[in-house]
Subunit: 217 residues, 2 copies
Amino acid sequence: MTTYQPVGMYSPMLKPDARTKLLDAAIEVIRKQGYAATSVDELCRKAGVTKGAFFHHFESKDALAVAAANHWSATTGALFAGADYHDHDDPLDRVLAYIAFRRDLIQGTPAEFTCFAGTTVQEAFATKDDIRAACEASIFGHAETLVADIADAMRKYKVKGDWTAQSLALHTQAVLQGAFILAKAKGDAAVARDSADHLRRYIELLFKGSTKKEQSK
Amino acid sequence: MTTYQPVGMYSPMLKPDARTKLLDAAIEVIRKQGYAATSVDELCRKAGVTKGAFFHHFESKDALAVAAANHWSATTGALFAGADYHDHDDPLDRVLAYIAFRRDLIQGTPAEFTCFAGTTVQEAFATKDDIRAACEASIFGHAETLVADIADAMRKYKVKGDWTAQSLALHTQAVLQGAFILAKAKGDAAVARDSADHLRRYIELLFKGSTKKEQSK
């Protein structure tokens, strides 16, 4: 998931506590340089808290990473829940508006628009199972928020196939995660937006048998 | 890219040199635990070479990572060049056979079937530009091998759209890279194979306007 707004660091009026400052710092720094390359000392410096405060709130760097993945799920979850792609009567329009929303978030440098959970799980999947599980909950939990709209669209448009609404929801996340990797490799957001366009085209073809461009001809 | 066969480690008859042993070890270990978490000492132990030998062949761990990405490109490149998905008269059949080939490679644990370049670039993209560039060359260079077949298929099937052969080639890599992330998060290869199926379905819809299953009805 994408376009994370730190709860604390840039909103001093909210008087974030040390724990929130550390979670925001972890998400910002790890998205840029990865998990193993990031030290507790660096996170404390970035958050402006003492090492004593760190270990008051977190037993270890791994414990912080689990909490950061959960924090990421909560804050991006609020962003998606409040977004206006839900404001369409037609369930297919909601799904397509979600894809457009995700595409619009792909702006700036890759560290700004890519996914904390997808980045972290690449390093942690085989060696740190508690971090892997928190990242799984983040990615798969977000995919789950799309299932009802896809299932409603399948009913409305009488679409049946050898795939399920849940499988298509997960595929949308696979496309976005992979698009982020290509953007990181190229240092360019445009290649990721192109994949979001292919995803939109796929969904149009699945449900309508043609793309929007063809329909308007 | 996927299913890497170490040149040296498991083929003692080939008498691999220390350099090849280190490259094979780097690919195996980094695919499992990430780049920053892997030390030179660990790579030397795994490869069965001395630290002196390491620094005889590589100036630094970063230099090894660049060489490992190039080694990955060369060895997986040979695997793809020799694969039988090329053996179809119809260019669309070649593209679909490529997707089927990639899907068939998604077996075993994620560390076995996922991509060294895609994994490493997640950590290195913003902080180690030489590693990023080697990973870009690996992923984008492989995508380039698909462009001629896609372009031929577009001509044969008279497919025109607001997308290019190169863009679809890159999208296939985005889907696979993202599918690997979901497989790592879930600890299960099946979710990645599902995304490969969605990719195959997308290409069938783009070129034929229906999926293979629908065509056989």
